[in-house]
């Protein structure tokens, strides 16, 4: 294996400025070791990640290096002290994967980044020098990289100059030479091991915490906590997520900002509706209306996003001879996108939206007052008791609605069941920290399987109807030829066929959820219903 790189820091010396310090280190090394020194290079380096830190969470760092004749991306392995695994020349600003030219970095990036946009997370300027230690054949056996770096920071303290760094890079198969070089450097230079690779040190210097954003629900609730306080904690977390995604949604950086914003909105509405008897009813009613409006104004762009993201798959699902005929549909979607995005950005910039979030935060952060006028009946009840009750009731409802569905049931019944399942899923996710992790995760997984089936059924019906309306609109505008309409018709046919398949699968999937074993587990986790034990019903 190639030996892992080792990073050292050389503390500033009082009598030398950073430039002189670097020169003196280079001179000391060259005096003792047989090496070739490459000229000093001024570099601007930026590290990129997605908003949700998908690269960092996958153990990678992406560095853009701009020097006099060089503009490239480096893919680094954080588990191996930022070893470079791939590099690729680029000519523009890194953004979406689709905007990058084919190459080694793009190949690694695509599965990790998905549809998200690369955003700069930290910028460094400085100089670096490479010294190559040579053997008697003038072959490079060790590389020494010296880096003088200033981290550009927007914070009140301004830019941060990091100590001079020395990176020791071994060459595979020349371990003895590496050891000799390292021993000499350690003896001659006042250097100490660096605590982290440059990327992580620079992030810390810039005051950024990697992995700080996640849309996942991860609350740590105390079972004895007052229900109102715990509910506010949940809702504040959702509000933070919602707010974190506003800027990216307005600027349309990538479709995931809007997606996360809408999920946070939906969860907020679900929490308002389902955690009953905890917040004052008048407040609940008021904000339910406000968040319903938000869900509605964010819908059209999301619908277009879903179509556009799915377009390549939809196209390839058609017979080859029909595929090109579908292109005008993509053109139509893109043509409408800009106007819908403008409307969305307008809504998110409106006073109504600002007031909604301002008032909501003010309410959630206001001090709790025991026995205040208008307080709901369960405001002071321990949250675990409220969670048990709500989940138990929703489980009961899901089971009743599911059992009532027969082959003759209308689609509306399945739609109602889906809504109940979603409510149950959100409740379990909000309160998962109150229950044994493995058990609750298993239950959430099961409900997701059921939701996938119901979602497939419902979404395919909605998509087919939407596609039919789009075909009518395109025909009215004269933007669709007969061939395009026919290819859209073929797609609608496929969707309806898949919908029927989902309908046929329902009974089997629901039976997998509605088992004695699950009912017993529900009883154990959330307490048996006093009037009708869950297990007895199954």
């Amino acid at each position: 294996m190639t030996p892992s790189a080792k990073d050292y820091e050389l503390p500033p010396t009082g009598d030398l400025d950073p430039e002189q310090q670097m020169d003196s280190v280079v001179a000391a090394i060259r005096n003792h070791l047989h090496c070739a020194a490459e000229p000093a290079t001024a570099t601007r380096r930026r590290f990129f990640d997605s908003f949700d830190w998908s690269l960092y969470l996958a153990g990678a760092a992406l560095e853009e290096v701009t020097a006099s004749e060089r503009h490239e991306l480096l893919w680094q392995d954080l588990a191996d002290n930022a070893a470079v695994l791939a590099r690729q020349a680029v000519d523009g600003e890194p953004g979406l994967v689709t905007g990058l030219p084919p190459g080694a970095v793009r190949e690694r990036l695509a599965p990790v980044l998905g549809v998200r946009r690369l955003l700069p997370v930290v910028t460094l300027v400085g100089k670096h020098r490479v010294l190559r230690v040579l053997n008697e054949d003038e072959k490079t056996v060790v590389r020494i990289l010296l880096e003088r770096v200033r981290v550009l920071a927007d914070g009140p303290l301004g830019d941060v100059v990091l100590p001079l760094r020395l990176r020791l890079l071994g060459v595979r198969g020349y371990l003895r030479e590496l050891g000799r070089t390292e021993r000499w450097l350690s003896k001659r230079l006042a250097m100490a091991p660096a605590h982290a690779p440059l990327f992580l040190s620079a992030l810390a210097a810039a005051g950024r915490r990697p992995g700080s954003y996640s849309s996942k629900l991860n609350y740590r609730l105390d079972p004895g906590k007052r229900a109102e306080a715990a509910t506010r904690t949940i809702l504040l977390g959702l509000l933070d997520t919602l707010e974190a995604n506003i800027d990216g949604t307005r600027r349309n950086l990538d479709p995931e900002f809007l997606h996360d914003l809408r999920v946070a909105t939906r969860r907020t509405r679900s929490a308002l509706g389902q955690i009953k008897g905890v917040l004052p009813q008048a407040i609940v009613d008021d904000f339910k209306t406000g968040f319903a409006w938000l869900q509605q104004v964010t819908g059209p762009v999301r619908d277009l996003d879903v179509y556009l993201l799915d377009f390549p798959r939809l196209k390839t699902s058609l017979p080859a001879s029909l595929r090109d005929d579908l292109e005008p549909l993509k053109d139509w979607l893109l043509a409408h996108y800009e106007a819908e995005q403008r409307t969305l950005a307008g809504a998110l910039g409106s006073e109504r939206f600002a007031a909604l979030l301002r008032d909501w935060r003010a309410f959630l952060e206001a001090p709790l007052r025991d026995g205040a006028h208008g307080a709901a009946q369960d405001a002071a009840t321990p949250i675990k008791a409220v969670a048990d009750k709500r989940i138990r009731r929703m489980f009961k409802r899901v089971r009743q609605e599911g059992r009532a569905i027969t082959d003759a049931s209308p689609p509306e019944d399945l739609h109602e069941l889906r809504k109940s399942c979603k409510k149950l899923r959100y409740l379990m996710e909000f309160f998962q920290s109150l229950y044994p992790a493995d058990d609750i995760k298993g239950m959430i997984k099961q409900i997701k399987v059921l939701l996938d089936n119901l979602g497939g059924f419902q979404d395919l019906a909605v998509q087919a109807e939407h596609l039919r309306e789009t075909a009518a609109a395109m025909q009215g505008e004269g933007t669709a030829t007969l061939d395009t309409l026919l290819s859209m018709g073929a797609l609608i046919g496929q969707m309806l066929e898949q919908q029927e398949q989902a309908r046929r699968d329902f009974a089997r999937i629901f039976a997998g959820f509605d088992t004695d074993e699950n009912a017993t587990l529900f009883d154990r986790l959330f307490g048996a219903d006093k009037r009708q034990p869950a297990a007895a019903c199954a």
Partner: protein
């Protein structure tokens, strides 16, 4: 991981310089690349300034006494490693016969230990058709075959293709011939190229010129594009690499 054998039955057609330069270009375009110098002359090892020596020789390697991983050397270029040659490779056929029941699958078996470490592996193959060649054919995704534009080269290509057609198990192997050491001032070269390309459209379009600068690699001991990036021959190797990478 894609495996390429730079191979010709004939010697002196530019195999080693092609291997070294293409491997350098693969690494320079950002891919982790390994050159395996299988030629006992060790010319590729020499060009990378690595001593052509494998501890215990080919026998230790084939018998698993030395893991492939331990024998690989980093070159002077980032992302580019070399598995050096050894003089014992001159007896590789005997070693392969002695080592195992399936001698043609030995290279494949050995390479398994470095899958995941490299995006490309390039074999610098000795000139011959032998048991080792068969082992290379079974391991490689593609064979790059340098052709000097002459009737004799055309004949050796025919011989190779006929051999591959007769054997089982080489169906997926791509054969990518290209013209090497081309002297455009010689009518014989240009006429032969026109004729062969008309007969065999699978011959790649890139042509490596006969150039003193390519021969100078032996003095500089490094890949041509590393010390003469703007030389026409470097451009030709770049075009060849683009064509090869695009066709895999």
């Amino acid at each position: 991981m894609k495996v390429l054998g730079v191979y010709s039955i004939k010697g002196g057609v530019g195999k080693t310089s092609s291997t070294v330069n293409l491997a350098y270009l693969a690494a320079a375009s950002g891919y982790r690349t390994l050159v395996w110098d299988l030629d006992p002359q060790g010319a590729a090892s020499y060009l990378f300034r690595v001593r052509p020596k494998v501890k215990g020789g080919g026998m230790a390697l084939l018998r698993g006494k030395r893991a492939l991983d331990e024998l690989i050397k980093g070159t002077d270029f980032e992302l580019l490693d070399l598995l050096p040659s050894d003089f014992s490779y001159r007896n590789m056929d005997i070693l392969l016969e002695a080592a195992n029941k399936a001698p043609q699958r030995q290279l494949q078996r050995l390479l398994k230990s470095v899958i995941g470490d490299y995006d490309y592996v390039l074999f610098d193959c000795p000139p011959s058709i032998s048991l080792m060649s068969e082992s290379i054919f079974r391991t490689a995704d593609a064979l790059l075959v340098p052709l000097i534009p002459s009737s004799l080269s055309a004949r050796t290509l025919e011989q190779l293709l006929a051999f591959l057609n007769k054997q089982d198990g080489f169906g997926a192997l791509r054969v990518l011939p290209f013209f090497s050491m081309v002297d455009t001032k010689r009518a014989l070269h240009t006429d032969t190229i026109d004729r062969l390309r008309a007969d065999r459209p699978e011959i790649l379009a890139a042509r490596i010129p006969l150039a003193a600068e390519v021969e100078r690699m032996g003095l500089r001991r490094m890949p041509l594009p590393a010390y003469a990036p703007s030389h026409a021959a470097s451009g030709a190797y770049r075009a060849l690499w683009d064509e090869v990478a695009g066709s895999l």
